[in-house]
Symmetry: C2
Subunit: 199 residues, 2 copies
């Protein structure tokens, strides 16, 4: 396949990560999600544990940092910068699938990038998070509030770092509601990608 980087954004509990991995397998290319963090640690000089703890967290407000008199950028900003460098480095080297981390935004001016978004109705996401991932909702048993909060964090992270609105349909080359299943979603997206790269 012609060198192509595929970014996958998703709603929490949509199965987007599973679909992304399946897609990478199907296309025979690299897959970066948690894998990215070791590279980021190497790039930033932070420990992997520290990077993991601050992963995809929005920074405290600038006001807070002025208040505490900080002279340096907050850790999550530093990590975001290192992460962007790692993503651009991957882009220059190999075909791969990158999950989350504003990769669509980081690579917004690069050709040969295909942006994917995975959605799913709230009810399906609740079932997946509760029954498949085995997550326990806080507040207890209120999975709607739990997912709502997870979504909000993801959106805040994107809007903070990407300086653009999250989830605009025009940003993505293909979006799929995963209610057709993980395998079929991955198949469909692979088919789209092959059509785009002319195979």
């Amino acid at each position: 396949m012609k060198k192509t980087v595929i970014t996958v954004s998703r709603e929490y509990g949509s199965g987007g990560r599973l679909i992304a991995r399946k897609l990478a397998d199907e296309l025979g290319i690299g897959f970066y999600d948690g894998e990215l963090l070791s590279l980021v640690a190497k790039e930033s000089g932070y420990t992997e544990e520290f990077v993991r703890r601050n992963d995809q967290k929005k920074t405290q407000s600038l006001l807070y940092h002025l208040y505490i008199g900080s002279q340096i950028l907050p850790a999550s900003d530093m990590i975001f910068i290192a992460q962007s460098r790692v993503i651009k480095d991957l882009y220059s080297k190999e075909s791969c699938v990158i999950v989350g981390r504003c990769a669509d935004y980081v690579l917004r001016d690069c050709p040969d990038v295909i942006n994917v978004f995975i959605t799913a109705p709230l009810e399906s996401r609740i079932v997946r998070v509760r029954d498949e991932y085995g997550e326990i909702a806080e507040p207890a048993d209120n999975y709607k509030a739990y997912l709502n909060k997870k979504d909000k964090n993801r959106i805040a992270y994107y809007n903070y770092f990407a300086d653009d609105a999250w989830g605009k349909v025009q940003t993505y080359d293909i979006s799929v509601n995963s209610d057709i299943g993980i395998d079929k979603s991955a198949d469909l997206i692979a088919r789209y990608i092959r059509a785009r790269v002319g195979e």
Copy 2:
């Protein structure tokens, strides 16, 4: 196929209408775009020519109507109401593809509705509008401004009547950047729909 209504929203010049027609042909179900207007005329009592002239136009502001002392709803509101009734009537009767007209919003609480969105990069849309549709841009030759205005009108229409933000990726079951071509886009969407209705 199990009774299913497919709504198709699109960016101007993305080829969404062509894809929608192809999709309807491929699935062997009805197609409603301009066809809807005759039904709306019948429902509203307006002439078809009048309906066509006011089609997908946002109404003047309420302030304007207060200013001119109007006692009745503006024509475009009346047409929207008649149109919504026609869309719900179609929904209750048959499987079909409906293009635009906030059909995704009108049917938002109905099961067995699949919402599709067609996007395309600005450059591709300019080429299609200029070379395939043969449209002449006003201001002269500024196709970017021309498409920008067309998009704005479409968004304003949706946001006015649908009381929701246009183009949120979560609203759609599948979105496709039509740069893979009209036929391949229609094929891909048909494949998604068959997977959803369990065929």
